[in-house]
């Protein structure tokens, strides 16, 4: 399937949730969606498009916390990155782990390193950091200071 057909299919599947689409090259596509459309968009990619969940990336920016979901379409050699933005004051998203088992661990990691709260996650607890890591201290945020830490 050519990349143009794939993009058309994605546009149809996402409908109004698709805020913008940028085709960086014939192998990389970047799409923006609103935060409330995360679950529905992920279902479209997983079930309709048959994509493989690669990983999710969280980035702390001035405007808010950006979360990108990276999906691979192996048959076509394409990686589609679906991006959304949540505010620093209320960093919440719906968890996709209930129907996408592959996302379970990365949502735990994004919670503990960036402070994003994933609603309805089946098993939210620390993955990498120790259980007594001070609450509210998120290492990947730009305002994180090492001297803030409580000594072990």
């Amino acid at each position: 399937m050519g990349i143009d057909n794939i993009i058309t299919e994605i546009r149809e599947g996402l409908g109004d949730s698709l805020l913008s689409l940028k085709q960086k090259s014939d192998k990389r596509v970047y799409i923006d969606i609103p935060p409330q459309a995360v679950r529905e968009t992920s279902r479209v990619m997983l079930e309709t498009m048959g994509a493989r969940f690669q990983i999710a990336t969280g980035v702390d920016t001035r405007k808010g916390i950006e979360v990108m979901y990276h999906w691979a379409l192996d048959r076509d050699g394409l990686i589609v990155t679906i991006r959304t933005m949540v505010s620093h004051e209320k960093p919440e998203l719906d968890s996709i782990a209930l129907f996408c088992v592959a996302a379970e661990w990365i949502e735990r990691e994004m919670w503990e390193l960036l402070g994003i709260h994933f609603r309805d996650h089946p098993d939210m607890r620390h993955l990498l950091l120790s259980d007594d890591w001070p609450e509210g201290k998120y290492p990947l945020r730009h305002d994180y200071q090492r001297s803030d830490e409580v000594a072990p």
Binding site: S25, F53, Q54, I55, V59, H70, G77, I79, V101, L140
Partner: protein
């Protein structure tokens, strides 16, 4: 209702090179549940990357893992090149593929040795690592170091392969043929290895797809994904190779996939060497800066697809660097594969995904859940695994694989 006990393996366990903590919940001898606790290897590499410039990041990223020390830099430079639209000369692509495939051979031999050690066949460990030394010799000849090669940079590679070194590399490929055939035939035909690995730790293809499993773990279950073919990078578009898959997804299939992949790697390296004899030109396009943008780099490491994401703002440091190693997707599949198996098999099942915790992150004991009394310690679990092999040896009268007479001649 039978008593349920918890068997923790780790964090410091004689079987494992790295600390990680597995809690097996056991009823009688059968495993009913697995908890995995990580974090013992987490060094905060993604955050460190933001304070390093692009060349230093490659140095840092190389030290994510000692065994995949080409895979991570290769995926990282590809992400940087994708972000900044940086061109890579053709000769550099062939060198990248050749070094990557040499790493695949040494990594699979390493795993084969450790798998033999876990089952109780230390001979296989010694043989596999003996031949692995030859591969490391060639890597030292090409790159200057046995591990942590320092070959990759955005825009190309740091060192060229001299014409005078190519015959030595070819010599290695010839030397490896007989031992690899021996390993292949041993694993397929030996009844003891078969008894310990066939039907053990099965991962169905549906589960492999649901968990997003990668590399030999997925290919052994029949899921034919391979980043070399699906997301062509380095020189793989110009090379001819097969993607090896099996059907059952048990430990036996995972072993067979890795061994057969080594033969494919030899084929790929041979093609790269032939091309390097004719393709001339620079090996580095020497980019002066990385344009603002974002990029994704993927590479098929020995364990599966490595994923790096780089965001650049035009300065000399990445704004964000995301690293995802294949073991991050493969290790959770253990939750499915250990179920229904025995404690003696748990150790080889957990090892069969070829876990690399240092990649995954930037410990097993059996406790009586009622009384808290420790039933099996960590060393007991290795002992259980080796005792099972001894028991099978007595039952079948088979003493294990014997080497052919001329295997160690002229070496």
């Amino acid at each position: 209702m039978s008593k349920r006990t918890i068997v923790p393996i780790g964090p410091y366990h004689a079987l494992q090179e790295e600390p990680e903590f597995f809690k097996l919940h056991v009823e009688g001898e059968t495993v009913v549940h697995l908890d995995i606790e990580l974090g013992y290897n987490h060094r905060g590499i993604e955050k460190l990357s933001e304070s390093k410039d692009f060349e230093e990041t490659i140095f840092l990223v190389e030290r994510i893992c000692g065994i995949c020390s080409t895979s991570h830099p290769l995926a990282c430079v590809q992400a940087v090149e994708d972000a900044g639209n940086i061109h890579v000369p053709e000769r550099a692509l062939f060198i990248r593929s050749a070094v990557g495939e040499l790493e695949r051979i040494h990594s699979h031999l390493l795993w084969l040795g450790l798998a033999g050690h876990f089952i109780g066949f230390n001979t296989i460990w010694m043989w596999a690592w003996r031949f692995r030394e030859e591969v490391l010799n060639i890597l030292e000849l090409i790159s200057g170091n046995r591990n942590h090669y320092g070959m990759m940079k955005p825009g190309g590679v740091r060192r060229d392969i001299n014409k005078t070194d190519i015959p030595a590399v070819r010599g290695l490929l010839d030397k490896l043929q007989d031992p690899l055939k021996l390993f292949r035939d041993t694993v397929i035909e030996d009844p003891l290895i078969g008894a310990r690995t066939r039907g053990v730790g099965i991962l169905t293809s549906e589960m492999a797809v649901a968990y997003g499993a990668l590399g030999p773990t997925a290919r052994a279950s029949g899921v034919a994904i391979d980043a070399r073919r699906d997301h062509p990078n380095a020189a793989y578009e110009m090379l001819d190779f097969d993607v090896v898959t099996c059907e059952n997804g048990d430990v036996f299939d995972k072993t067979v996939v890795r061994i057969l992949e080594m033969f494919e790697s030899i084929r790929i390296i041979e093609q790269c060497l032939t091309k390097l004899e004719t393709v001339k030109g620079p090996v580095d396009s020497d980019p002066k800066c990385v344009a603002p943008g974002e990029g994704v780099g993927v590479y098929e490491a020995p364990r599966g697809e490595v994923f790096h994401y780089i965001r650049s703002d035009g300065s000399n440091r990445p704004v964000r660097h995301k690293v995802r190693a294949p073991s991050f997707m493969n290790v959770p599949t253990n939750r499915e594969t250990v179920l229904g198996g025995t404690v003696a098999d748990a150790t080889i099942i957990l090892a069969a995904v070829d876990p690399c915790y240092c990649c995954t992150e930037r410990m097993a004991v059996a406790i009586d859940s009622h009384g808290g009394e420790e039933l099996w310690g960590a060393r007991d679990l290795i002992r259980l695994s080796c005792e099972k092999t001894d028991r099978l040896m007595k039952e079948t009268g088979w003493r294990g694989p014997q080497p052919p007479e001329n295997l160690f001649d002229n070496r």
